[in-house]
């Protein structure tokens, strides 16, 4: 009987990259788990929390908790920053409110980022994925530093047939997204993005893989504006790929 997991698609993937939601389900099923999707889910509340508007984040977070409280099994999110928000941000958000705090802790104990879930929880590293390209991994900040997840995505990518992994110079440097930061401080955010793009170019990778759609949107959004080829791809896409899969960007 396979494990059952609850998928948290995240608001950005739900709205802008629905195909990634399906890649995630595909990957999880291939890894041997049954995937449920509580359809009332919306968002984890991070954008409002990061903006400092905690009273606007609360209702969203409460809705998140209510959505997943009535479900069983691990919660898997294809996003380091959303996972970090639920695991750590909710402690700040619900501090001082004992009832909600303990409900939040109950949920926090169940949530995993996708690559973390596959490697640490399931012990799965081989998904029979096939993606012949030169790829580099961009470690998104919350995933890397908040959650301490770094080897897991790399392990998964190393097992992808045909993929040639190369190192991204200064890989651990932030891409400059930072959520509302990218809108409030576009100049610095862009300077940081320029650096990241330079480093991607230097790595000569065809594709840069990330576990966070925010970073992906930032990098591709900048490349598209410059009329340059898109490079950033979510890890679920790579792991879900099979021989003969459709063109990556089209």
């Amino acid at each position: 009987m396979p494990d059952k997991v609850q998928l948290f698609a995240t608001c950005i993937i739900d709205t802008l990259y629905p195909e990634i939601g399906f890649y995630v389900i595909d990957v999880l099923e291939r890894a041997g788990v049954e995937v449920e999707f509580p359809p009332e889910q919306t968002c984890c509340g991070q954008p409002a929390f990061n903006a400092g508007l905690r009273h606007l984040s609360r209702p969203i977070a409460e809705h998140f908790i209510k959505t997943f409280e009535n479900t069983d099994g691990p919660i898997v999110a294809p996003s380091g920053s959303c996972t970090a928000m639920v695991k750590h941000g909710y402690r700040e958000l619900f501090a001082g409110d004992e009832a909600w705090f303990s409900r939040a802790e109950g949920i926090a104990g169940r949530i995993y980022e996708l690559s973390e879930f596959l490697v640490d929880y399931l012990g799965v590293t081989e998904l029979e994925a096939h993606f012949p390209a030169r790829i580099a991994y961009h470690p998104s900040c919350h995933l890397l530093r908040d959650l301490g997840v770094n080897s897991q995505p790399r392990t998964l990518l190393e097992a992808v047939a045909g993929a040639e992994l190369c190192e991204l110079p200064y890989a651990n440097e932030c891409c400059g997204f930072g959520g509302v930061f990218s809108a409030e401080h576009p100049e610095v955010s862009t300077a940081m993005l320029d650096r990241k793009i330079r480093n991607i170019e230097e790595s000569e990778a065809e594709v840069v893989v990330t576990c966070d759609a925010g970073c992906m949107t930032h990098i591709n959004g900048g490349l598209h504006r410059r009329r340059e080829g898109l490079r950033a791809v979510h890890i679920a896409r790579i792991l879900a790929s099979r021989p003969g899969a459709e063109e990556l960007f089209g």
């Binding site: 802008l16 990259y17 903006a51 905690r54 009273h55 530093r145 932030c174 809108a183 100049e187």
Partner: protein
């Protein structure tokens, strides 16, 4: 409609010199720091944890520790003044310098003294105050505030420094860094000798001993706390550690985090003013304890920011700081703050006002590099988020305020509106679905032919990035169809959870395994720092000293009293024609001292002030020769800090090699104010 902050950011981004300087700083620092951490005798994470706990304990019990510290310091003869505000601190300092009829004041680096703007006050009172730290000296001449907590002139190239010296000191232009350093050395040597008052900062106050610890590299810190008749130390009230063992813990981390050194060249511990028997030192030692908002911060949600030991590591790790530099961090009205970077974006609003400086906390992508870099493990992203939520007022230490964020968050109006709409939608699945459909339709209407949306510039995002057009949402597609099923795989054993940064492999710790003798380690460490060690039999000490003097063409030395050395040593030197005296003289090139102890792991000498032991002998001359008994070499810093003999001394300096600086364009120069050569005659 650009705010002063955004304007300064844009200027910084467009400033090529600054960009090059910041890149160089980040590169050099981060490499050096990584290597230095690898040399820690214990695992980095456990030392950080220990350091965090020490500082947490201090801040939690600050009142009690302060009381004890003040009492012990007073017992030592240090005159303690408590200053609640910056103005009070300034008043007390002015009072002291006026009573002294001071004309020239020599200052060594102190961030808290910048905070209280003491230089302006002293200038206005008609006194000449000279910054003697090389970086501070440069920016003082350039009439600028520091742009970094540790390297104040990091934003200047050597050409710019050459121009500044040419303009302000009337010297011919040079951009050669050792020449520039030599110019500063000559200029400041005059200042040190004529100063009536020395003002210094304090890195740590040690509660159990009532002592002040100051770490420096150039020798100016020793100068200003030894030569003038009056010493004023300025210290923030939060800079305490309970015991000497706790001091050792901090000293393992501070130099490594700040400059990638195992120890700074000079680690000075001041207990008392000049005692009856001491040959030199200030007759009066004052300590100004500055609050200036720290108690308020302690009572606020930003309390943890007080753990900071002002190492600057977070500045060097921050990708935003790397782009904009320290001077860009300004308040709403465009005014500067003493503290930039990640820590500055928390303490500036905390100490100087949320309204003015809260905006700094929004200029962060919350990447967390600062938290990783912090030797005391301060959770800076958490604190930055609290500032954004408008927290940090006295009394809001208890986080129970759920209404926080309504009025007090400093989100700009556009963001507030956007988030309000988003929040309304995202708190209900029905509204969320409607919102998604609306976005999809709007995208189709305004951008029909492209999968991408070019938002207008005012959105911020649209400044330089496009945005994918919203498609049919996942939830709707999911509910319409199922994803394909794939067969099971054999689960493999799970891997280790890894910490974020992989550190380079640790240096061999030879001592604990007994494979390298302390004296061998001592020699290796000191040689790596540019010092030299001559090992010999006790009867050959004199011969070796004479050889050094011959080599350096010197026959006149300043030395400690004869009874500090092995019997007959000074007589032997006399008999060979060497002129020996205890008093300093500007023309003496060599100083000879004995060392009370040595530290093997860092190649360090412990030099204590006392009867017949002038500090100047190891400070003023170009060459310092120290006689050290091999049996007095201890393994670690902790061992030496706890030595009874040193804890009774009124003033001890731990010397690790020749004086040095990298304040100009991050380039190392040996020989600044303190001796340029350190030679240890190590006998058994």
């Amino acid at each position: 409609m650009t705010s002063p902050f955004r304007k300064k950011i844009k200027e910084a981004l467009a400033d090529k010199n600054l960009q090059d300087a910041l890149d160089l700083n980040a590169e050099r620092r981060l490499t050096a720091i990584k290597a230095a951490y690898a040399s820690l005798p214990q695992d980095l994470q456990s030392v950080r944890k220990q350091a965090h706990e020490v500082r947490e304990k201090v801040i939690e019990n600050l009142g009690d520790y302060l009381e004890q510290f003040i009492s012990n310091a007073q017992d030592n003869g240090i005159i303690v003044h408590k200053a609640e505000s910056a103005n009070q601190a300034v008043e007390k300092i002015l009072d002291i310098v006026r009573r002294r009829n001071a004309r020239v004041i020599a200052k060594s680096k102190s961030m808290v003294s910048e905070e209280i703007h003491i230089n302006t006050a002293l200038d206005e009172a008609g006194m000449k105050v000279v910054e003697t730290d090389l970086g501070e000296f440069i920016i003082q001449l350039n009439r600028q505030p520091p742009s970094h907590i540790i390297t104040p002139a990091v934003h200047l190239t050597r050409q710019e420094v050459g121009e500044i010296f040419e303009r302000e000191l009337n010297v011919p232009f040079t951009e050669d860094i050792s020449e520039l350093t030599a110019i500063a050395r000559k200029e400041l040597r005059r200042t040190f000798l004529e100063a009536d008052v020395g003002i210094s900062g304090v890195n740590f106050g040690v509660v159990e001993d009532g002592a002040l610890c100051i770490v420096t590299n150039e020798g100016n810190g020793r100068m200003v706390t030894t030569l003038p008749e009056t010493h004023i130390a300025v210290m923030g009230i939060e800079r305490l550690v309970p015991t000497m063992a706790d001091l050792a813990c901090m000293l393992y981390l501070l130099p490594r985090s700040a400059t990638g050194q195992k120890l700074t060249v000079y680690t000075t511990i001041i207990r008392k003013p000049r005692q009856a028997g001491d040959n030199d030192g200030p007759g009066e030692c004052h300590l100004i304890l500055v609050d200036n908002g720290r108690s308020k911060v302690r009572n606020s949600a930003l309390r943890e920011s007080l753990y900071c030991i002002r190492c600057g590591a977070c500045l060097n790790a921050c990708p935003v700081f790397q782009e904009i530099g320290g001077h860009a961090y300004v308040g709403v009205d465009g005014g500067p703050t003493t503290y930039p970077g990640p820590i500055g974006s928390v303490v500036s609003p905390g100490l100087f006002g949320l309204k003015q400086f809260g905006q700094l906390a929004r200029a962060s992508s919350l990447c967390g590099a600062c938290r990783d870099a912090c030797p005391v493990d301060i959770d800076l992203p958490k604190l930055l988020l609290r500032v954004r939520a408008g927290m940090g007022s006295p009394g809001d230490y208890d986080l129970g305020e759920i209404s926080v964020g309504r009025a007090s968050a400093n989100a700009p109006p556009g963001i507030r509106l956007g988030i309000k709409i988003f929040s309304w939608m995202a708190s209900s699945p029905g509204r969320f679905g409607i919102g998604q459909r609306f976005a999809k339709t709007a995208g189709r209407v305004f951008y029909p032919s492209s999968g991408w949306v070019s938002l207008p510039r005012f959105t911020g995002w649209g400044y330089s990035r496009d945005f994918p057009r919203p498609a049919e949402p996942f939830r709707e597609q999911y509910l319409k169809k199922r994803a394909a099923s794939i067969p099971l795989r054999e689960p493999k054993p799970s891997g280790e959870r890894e910490s974020a940064e992989a550190l380079p492999p640790r240096e061999q710790p030879p001592l604990r395994q007994g494979s390298e003798l302390p004296v061998q380690r001592f020699e290796r460490e000191l040689t790596a720092l540019g010092g030299s060690v001559i090992r010999c039999d006790s009867k050959n000490i004199g011969k070796n000293i004479l050889a050094v003097l011959e080599l350096n063409k010197s026959s006149w030395i300043q030395a400690w009293d004869r009874d500090k050395f092995p019997d007959g040593l000074l007589e032997e030197l006399n008999n060979s024609g060497i002129r020996v005296q205890t008093e300093p003289d500007p023309d003496i090139k060599v100083g000879l001292t004995a060392a009370s102890a040595g530290i093997a792991e860092t190649g360090t000498l412990a030099i204590s002030r006392g009867l017949g032991c002038p500090q100047t002998a190891s400070l003023l001359p170009e060459i310092h020769i120290a006689v050290l008994n091999q049996g007095d070499i201890y393994e670690s810093l902790t061992d030496v800090l706890n030595l009874a003999e040193l804890r009774e001394s009124s003033y001890v300096t731990l010397i690790s090699g020749p004086s040095r600086t990298a304040d100009i364009q991050m380039t190392l120069t040996i020989g600044v104010h303190g001796p340029a050569k350190v030679i240890v005659i190590c006998f058994n």
